[in-house]
Symmetry: D3
Subunit: 133 residues, 6 copies
């Protein structure tokens, strides 16, 4: 019965990860790493986060990525920021838009969160550039 939500979630996740294999593997790596102690959490990410929230209408994938990144910069949760800078790029955000969004947050979060986020962004960009070679 949750099969549809799971499949919808997986399909949606693919839209954020289809053009390359970096993020899907990251998503799967996290889910797999926690598979033994908390198998349901990976399921909730697919079914609820991707299957119910990301599949909603009203915002484009790029807009959803922008909203997600802005929240993670503000929280300072860097492992997830790394992942979602990746999914944002695959969803069609340019590197410039991501840098610009993080820079735009200076008046709202102050410099420390912004500097830490830009450091993560720089690392993600470098890995993706390498992968293209």
């Amino acid at each position: 019965m949750n099969q549809d939500r799971y499949q919808n979630g997986l399909d949606k996740l693919m839209e954020y990860t289809l053009t390359d294999n970096i993020e899907i593997s990251t998503h799967l790596k996290i889910s797999e790493a926690l598979e033994d102690i908390a198998p349901d959490v990976g399921k909730y990410i697919i079914e609820f986060a991707y299957g119910e929230i990301y599949t909603r209408k009203g915002l484009t994938n790029k807009q959803r990525a922008l909203v997600t990144i802005s929240s993670l910069v503000t929280q300072g949760t860097e492992p997830q920021l790394e992942l979602h800078i990746n999914t944002g790029l695959t969803a069609g955000l340019t590197e410039e838009e991501i840098v610009e969004s993080i820079t735009h947050l200076i008046p709202y979060t102050g410099f420390p969160r912004v500097l830490n986020a830009l450091t993560v962004a720089k690392k993600v960009f470098a890995i993706r550039h390498e992968d293209k070679h």
Copy 2:
């Protein structure tokens, strides 16, 4: 010498507040309220936040509003969220896009921040609807 930055900031602020008089008055009310104890802070908002950050290229006004709102929902700073739901609407975001952005944050901030933000949004929408009559 800072005249240009101030004027640029004020011009940009107008873009977020031109179609109605709600937010500009809110911005000015905050600045005026603090004029006596901290006159420079209002100046920094115009010159730095609007004059230097909001006038940057690379994102549309709507995207900047989306990034701002997402950060404020995450922080839970409700007076500023109220203001920027207003500027977001003036910048061209629809009510639906704003509600959708807040809803999208459930997997990233949890329900409490989202519920508090939606309560603010509802209030802002109601005030603007009243003002149209």
Copy 3:
């Protein structure tokens, strides 16, 4: 198809609200208040939060209430804290256990969050005592 999750969620919510009518009405009041602008969020609270998370095995209702309250004290999201001190009492936590849990957080959050939370708790206790008369 989500009917089961919704019903399970509603049943579980009842366990936290059956002995009196305070919290169910609070939960419903929040959902109803947001019904017009964000109808799905109330649905997600029932289906996901109550239907999928609260119905999991491994913790008692009292333990879940303790975990919830501890997180909300730490976040400082007071409207939700008020609601969940109520659900915690209905789930079987005593007033003393709730005060003790908040007090226990002094070394982890500092005094400000604890004092604000105790002020909320005092208010909730008073309302419930009144209702009994």
Copy 4:
């Protein structure tokens, strides 16, 4: 046996509240308000916060007030900020130093926390000015 710590804490608290009766009453009001549900928390504030931490050497009372205010602005815990702007003034900080400290935090917390803190400061200054008449 804790009598000394309690007395030391009370003496130290007096240094922050002796020149006027605003804050001591605020401190006592908070303690009294929670006396019935959590009597020990007021005791910990006197014994631990004032009796052990504030009585330490190495910083002046003014420096301790500055550190406290900076943390509370950053946390956004406004009831405590109101209290400690008051104790800061009694400890010898000028209104200008307090406004300047809050303004200094713009690059570290962003504008929202700073604006909310200045609004609290303005209110405290006004109450103290009134009291002098």
Copy 5:
């Protein structure tokens, strides 16, 4: 005069660390590491946190561990979370209860904090399993 509080604190700390030597050494390692620059902080942890707060009545050791872990997951302070997942296990929480508590927080903190906390939990469980061999 503080001897009793110190001894009570140390006794209580032992209850959280007696069945194995992992956490006591962790606690002592932190205290020892800071001994040279801030010797009193380790003393406050023993005397105030363990000697005054943890020795209070009204909650079991397991409940206190649950409250502590929930706050640390919410704050995202991972070094302390690692320590207190350890003390929680020694206090009698099962691995399943700890995972379940963290999972329960998804609706209150969102997925990022939960995923980071589960990663810490997995690491702690692995170290303790190794130590048993």
Copy 6:
């Protein structure tokens, strides 16, 4: 036109970094590291943070360092805390004043943030002691 603000900012930055070469290099290293993806952010730090905020009157350099450190301890942004413990020392704060300020925050942030900050402080002190040999 911004030349003056930039130069003023750079001059002020020098006051926080002149007696040794540790922090200026750290500041420059961060700016240089982000030069390729976000060149303007380093400029804003010099022009706005140092050129406009740090050059304001009303607080000494030592007081500004104290305010900055207190905010960063509260936020838990450790890379920036490391940098500003360094600038604080160069601005004239003693190691004892820095440790004392962090210790003073126990009642306001709880032990976790304080312990993590002291660990950063210990590392910074050790590096500076080494550099003197």
